[in-house]
Amino acid sequence: MPANRFNGFTEYGIGIGLRAPHYNHILTRKPVCDWFEIISENFMIDGGRPLRILEEILEQYKVVQHGVSMYFGSAEKPNREHLRRLKELVRRTKTPWLSDHLCWGSVDGRYTHDLLPMPYTFEAAKLTAQKVREVRDYLEVPVAVENVSSYAEFHVSEMTEWEFLNEVVERADCGILLDVNNIYVSSQNHSFNPFDYVNSVPAERVAQIHIAGHSKYRRYILDTHDHPVIDPVWKLYERAIQRVGHTATLLEWDDSIPSFDEVHDEALKANKFLSSTLLATAV
């Protein structure tokens, strides 16, 4: 939704992920960009160049934190050191909301550094929601959970992925970072209609939307963030925007990263859909 309690009542436009190859361009050319999303873990450090760059970016741009290793769905307790460092960074960036993935990735204190898929069970939803609440209460900032791309499904699942997402966010009373590319990737890998997913998400909880490119293989699709956004994903984005309104949108591009302008131009294609929503609202 445009501005809601899950994105700190902000009205952010179109942003891109802040990535090292663009630092110099951003700091010297100071291009216009609505906002940047940072990977929290890259800045949960004690000092040095990354933090100095971040300070300079924060002086001129709006920044939102996005995490990759909170693992809301891991059966173990959150890592205290992780939380302490994350809170320190939240204080530094004053991020209006914070997102991480609806997945798991650590067991017995061992990290896979991957976004592993959840079994869609009520037990998992309950535990995950509890963890989201704990993290949000500790960090004192709105939290949005992002749906991930997946390549496997489990026998134990008791519901669809979107039903599971709804179950978690209702129990946790948290926001959603709706990744329409991830929905597309999973829909191809698991043979479901991606529009069923987008149409089932509680629109009032959507804090932000992700768009990205992926890689298609013969028998499955991998979420690689190394290509432009394809048309079927833009169609899903269009549908999402029709449902949730003019929402903060971010393009992820993490591998084979082209120039800043190329990435930003790709992200700005979202304007076509956002402006049509604004027109529809106006008439």
Binding site: D46, S69, A75, T112, E123, Y151, V156, L222
Partner: protein
């Protein structure tokens, strides 16, 4: 299957090493067939078996972690060669899986592990350990903590035998058997040059790296790996400097640190005072000293 049980079952398979042809092993962690193991908890679909779906995650895990090792330890890779480095990294990651939320800390236990498992470095054990120490110190210096520095002017009125000084947390002091600082700089230069080069060009540079390693002769050096203006530097220091700085880091007083440094020193007694003064001037100018809390406290006698 409970959530915890499912996650343990899957994580064991995901973290199991790949075959030499980079596929998932056919034997599961519990000794049974991996096909049966995967089918227990993962659904097949019309295109992929349970085994193949699990394999995607198994491969992603290893590709991601090995890439991180390559990025963090290019010098060690040059010393061991690509194939031995990969084999060593796999063995290390099996013994020491990541225990941190960030890949930045993946190599934190590599030096200790390599000392316990010297076979992975073969005849280059000492060289491999030295370059590993340097590359880890480089990571620590890059984003380690920096306290407000004590500059020469701050030290003026406080210098005395009982003075205790704190060293910046991001500084590592290394006593090395090989001049690996030169080697690492050479390797990085080659890597930078080959970023956009052809395969033939890269092969030539790879040979140059191998030659650089081969011609490296043992020579004891002392290094301070530190950060100035967000850049990491390898500064060669004298043995006596190394001892003084190390003693200060351990919390010893200035007097005791200097005493320890010159106990077996070849530096003539008449030159020592002037040298120590010069060293302190340099260290303070580089911002190596700090005080975390409160004033600089003289040691109680």
């Amino acid at each position: 299957m409970s959530l915890a049980a499912l996650q343990k079952t899957m994580a064991r398979a995901v973290m199991q090493p790949l075959t030499p042809s980079e596929h998932m092993q056919t034997t599961a962690p519990d000794g049974r067939s991996m096909r049966t193991y995967a089918a227990r908890f993962i659904k097949p679909n019309d295109r992929l078996t349970s085994f193949e779906r699990l394999e995607i995650y198994n491969r992603q895990y290893w590709f991601r972690l090995l890439s991180s090792m390559i990025e963090d330890f290019p010098g060690l890779r040059a010393v061991l060669g690509d194939r031995k480095f990969e084999a060593m990294s796999k063995a290390y990651l099996v013994d020491c899986p990541s225990q941190s939320f960030t890949l930045r800390n993946l190599g934190a236990r590599l030096e200790t592990w390599l000392r316990k498992h010297p076979k992975w470095a073969g005849s280059k054990r000492e060289l491999a350990i030295d370059i590993t120490r340097l590359e880890w110190a480089d990571i620590e210096a890059f984003d380690g903590k920096a306290e407000p520095p004590l500059r020469p002017d701050n030290l003026g009125g406080e210098v005395g035998a009982k003075l205790k000084l704190k060293l910046q947390p991001h500084i590592s002091l290394l006593d090395l058997k090989y001049p690996v600082d030169d080697l690492l700089l050479e390797v990085r230069k080659e890597d930078d040059d080959t970023d956009f080069a052809s395969n033939a060009f890269q092969e030539r540079h790879k040979r140059k790296r191998v030659q650089a390693v081969a011609k490296l002769k043992p020579a004891e050096i002392f290094l301070a790996v530190h950060r100035v203006d967000d850049s990491v530097y390898f500064r060669r220091i004298e043995r006596e400097e190394f001892v003084i700085l190390g003693a200060l880091r351990e919390g010893k007083s200035l007097g005791k640190a200097i005493q320890a440094a010159f106990r077996h020193s070849r530096i003539p007694a008449g030159e020592r005072a002037e040298l120590v003064q010069k060293w302190f001037q340099n260290w303070a100018t580089l911002g190596w000293f700090c005080r975390e809390k409160g004033p600089v406290v003289p040691e109680a006698s």
